[in-house]
């Protein structure tokens, strides 16, 4: 139904372009030089008046319709339902929506519920009819208004360009709004979490078991929210990843830019960069089904006790994923070191490796440090590899052969599937998100700062 409305609106807008254009030509009886703007601008002017207000109303209507209807229906329900606490009321509303869409409901619908569902359906029909009427009326009214105001003196181009400019500026503020949205959504839920669990317990507690008891008499679900095991787990896996990625990535970049023949470089560099394009879920699968068993079996051969979801396996694969980040970022800074410095070093009799370690690396160091920091922030925020290959149990250990869990794993598992929004368990995920956001942002800021402050400028 709604897609037909959109289609109709599109057709109307297209038609209105031609209406506006022909109107402008008619108003000067074909002498275009008498018009302020080109005829097509009068067309765009009409089309904007036709499409834009209607579209804005449409989007707002669709966004707020469910909330308003739900409110109206709840207001019409018997007082004993309205009097329910919020959580139960939400359940009742969910049931109601299920009745409306004809799904299976959790309990047998009582007459009040069925009546409310009927009410809901009626309101929906009324609302969608009203939407059709309003949108079409706005579109046609817009055309009428625009056609009436078209005159040779109308500054159509300026108006159209102004509208486009508004769209440009609005688009460019999306980035700001997204940041604000992230900060606010994460911050507010975290604050609610810290009302239930003290900040100090969250940041310094050594126990993490987020299963809170549903009933008072339930056993074994104390609900402890000390996030230190998650932080150490994240650090452990990221450290293993960096131990793999930094030497391999850096040495690859050095080899490719200083030693390799151009042909070899032209082949090897793109192949290495394939690693950056592979989805993380593929790495996760690779880690869980291929690398983890290899690590475990090798450990057994050496007489070590390796968990099947060891931090080592996840870290190794994550390291492979990060190699191209380190290598291509370092490659850029190494290539930015001027050839004259290399030549100077060779002229003094230095070998290539001496030139690299004593001239190129010191000159490129700020860039390389920044690259490593960016790679570290990537490792800390990586989710799928650890969700699939690292464990769920929050062990406080530095042993890479044991299973550890990470911040991202906990966010993902706490928020996957159905959850209630009020419980400390759900809110904890937002608090972890806040930590993650802050840390990655800080790493990026430091990386940027290092580059700005210590970068050598070569002319």
């Amino acid at each position: 139904m709604l897609s037909y409305l959109i289609l109709l609106l599109l057709i109307l807008t297209t038609v209105s372009y031609y209406l506006g254009r022909s109107r402008s030509l008619a108003s000067v009886s074909g002498r275009t030089q008498d018009l302020h703007s080109l005829p097509s601008y009068y067309g765009f002017f009409t089309a904007l008046w036709c499409g834009l207000p209607a579209l804005i109303v449409f989007v707002f209507w669709i966004t707020f319709q469910p909330t308003i209807i739900t409110h109206l229906v709840v207001a019409g329900m018997p007082p004993e339902i309205q009097g329910l606490p919020e959580a139960q009321l939400n359940l009742a509303i969910n049931d109601l929506k299920n009745v409306v869409s004809g799904n299976i409901v959790s309990s047998n619908p009582n007459p009040a519920m069925l009546a409310a569902a009927e009410h809901y359906k009626n309101l929906q029909t009324i609302s969608s009819a009203a939407l059709w009427v309003t949108v079409l009326a706005l579109a046609i009214g817009g055309i009428a208004y625009a056609r009436r105001s078209i005159a040779p003196t109308l500054r159509a181009r300026n108006k159209v360009e102004m509208t486009i400019m508004v769209f440009f500026i609005a688009s460019s503020t999306i980035a700001i709004f997204t940041t604000i949205g992230i900060v606010l959504s994460v911050l507010f839920e975290s604050l609610r979490f810290f009302q239930k669990v003290p900040v100090t317990e969250f940041l310094f507690g050594l126990q993490w078991s987020p299963q809170t008891a549903l009933r008072a008499d339930q056993a074994g679900s104390s609900g402890a929210f000390g996030a230190v095991p998650l932080f150490t787990g994240t650090l452990l896996i990221s450290a293993i990843a960096m131990l793999v990625a930094v030497p391999l990535g850096l040495m690859s970049a050095l080899y490719l830019s200083e030693y390799a023949a151009p042909k070899f470089r032209a082949v090897a560099k793109p192949i290495l960069e394939i690693l950056a394009g592979i989805p993380t879920v593929v790495y996760g699968f690779f880690a869980a089904l291929t690398v983890a068993p290899i690590v475990r079996d090798t450990g057994h051969l050496l007489g070590l006790n390796v968990a099947s979801e060891s931090a080592l396996a996840a870290g190794l694969v994550m390291g492979i994923m990060i190699i191209p980040f380190v290598s291509s970022l370092s490659d850029d800074v190494i290539n930015a070191v001027p050839q004259a410095m290399r030549d100077g070093s060779y002229a003094l009799g230095a070998t290539r490796s001496e030139t690299i370690t004593r001239v190129i690396l010191p000159a490129a160091l700020p860039g390389i440090v920044a690259a490593i920091l960016l790679a570290a922030s990537r490792a800390i925020g990586e989710t799928m590899i650890v969700v699939m290959a690292a464990g769920m149990a929050a062990n406080l250990t530095a042993n890479p052969l044991q299973a550890v869990t990470t911040v991202t794993v906990q966010i993902a598992t706490l928020l996957t599937g159905d959850q209630e929004f009020e419980s400390a368990k759900t809110l904890a995920a937002f608090a972890l998100g806040l930590v993650l956001f802050t840390v990655t942002l800080a790493l990026n800021a430091i990386a940027l700062h290092v580059v700005r402050k210590y970068r050598e400028q070569y002319e």
Partner: protein, 434 residues
Amino acid sequence: MNNSNLTPAAANTTAIVAAGLKHRHAAEKRFKLYGLIAITLGLLSVLLLFVDIISKGYPAFQQTFVKLEIKFDEASLDPTGSRDPQVLASADYSALVKAALRELFPDVAGREERRALYGLISSGASFQLQDMVLKNPALIGTTQSVWVPAAATVDTFIKGGIDRDTTEINRSLKDNQIVWIDKLVASGAVEKQFNKALFTNGDSREPELAGIRGALMGSIYTLLVTMALSFPMGVATALYLEEFAAKNRWSDLIEVNINNLAAVPSIIYGLLGLAVYLQFFGLPRSAPLVGGLVLTLMTLPIIIIASRAALKSVPPSIREAALGMGASKMQMVFHHVLPLAMPGMLTGAIIGMAHALGETAPLLMIGMVAFIVDIPHGILDPATVLPVQIYLWADLPERAFVERTSAAIMVLLAFLITMNAVAVILRRRFERRW
């Protein structure tokens, strides 16, 4: 070496250098070797990844089918002879499969044994027969030989995934089942055919019926939403920042934000989607619309950065020429700058879309992990996407699902490689050096 005409000091220096030379050359060789080892390990891991996925996944493109002589018995399918589609749809088709199996192995008796026998054939067989009859009711009363899908365990056994020499307890097929399969194979009633179900079915708990069609459609709808929103907005932002905005605090703020968003971990976007789109705006869970909205925010920075680079590469002389001819600034942008920058912008958009196609973590948060059998038909239907389907299947222990997970990964990688190849070709073809 002839040091006779050097001063004693110089001769001394040369001697020191010569003494250290062997050591230094060895260090040089070692360093070069380290570099070679590093790059080899990197390339090896690419190779290992692909070999591993492909070797695990290629069997999934084939599925074992069993030929059964199905008697479309009128008495059991349509006792009244009305040929009413409703009666035909609700008839018991699994009985036909069972009857055909009993006919093949008449000496199988007892509940336990018979159940083991019926277990050889996939439960999807009865749906296949139902489809056949509904499409062509004239089949009723005839006997047809039909290729029906074998159960996943049989499929794995035929492909060599189950060792017949292990003890009965350690494998998922019983001894008598293996005897029956051997008989079927000997009579030529078992065949491996192309696994069409993988591409036409939605998700299923039965590996032999599970397909990626639903996830693929979900991915396409999600990407359509992402593309429709992020490309215009990304280009608009880039145009504003490059062509119109004055360099001041405001544009600096926008730029800092864009750079930050490019570095925010993807799972944070999932939190944003959950709190803002689902909780605040009350949009439906699991819908491609919400997935698309979340991925839009993620791909925007990529598209903006690529589009700005493309705009920067358009030489200022073109702008000045347009303005000199009396074009307005907006006309200059839309008539001259934008067409020239478009290939670069499209390349950026494709790379951004490839990124969005492979993204999993934020979609877990907004409920796209549900077990959804139906194939979505719009942006509001519950759906899942290809990477999430891979994640879901990777959790399942059956070997047949491991196979299918790898096959799904191969499909996903094929899409990604195609998209990136298109981007590279676009860049090669249309890139202009001024």
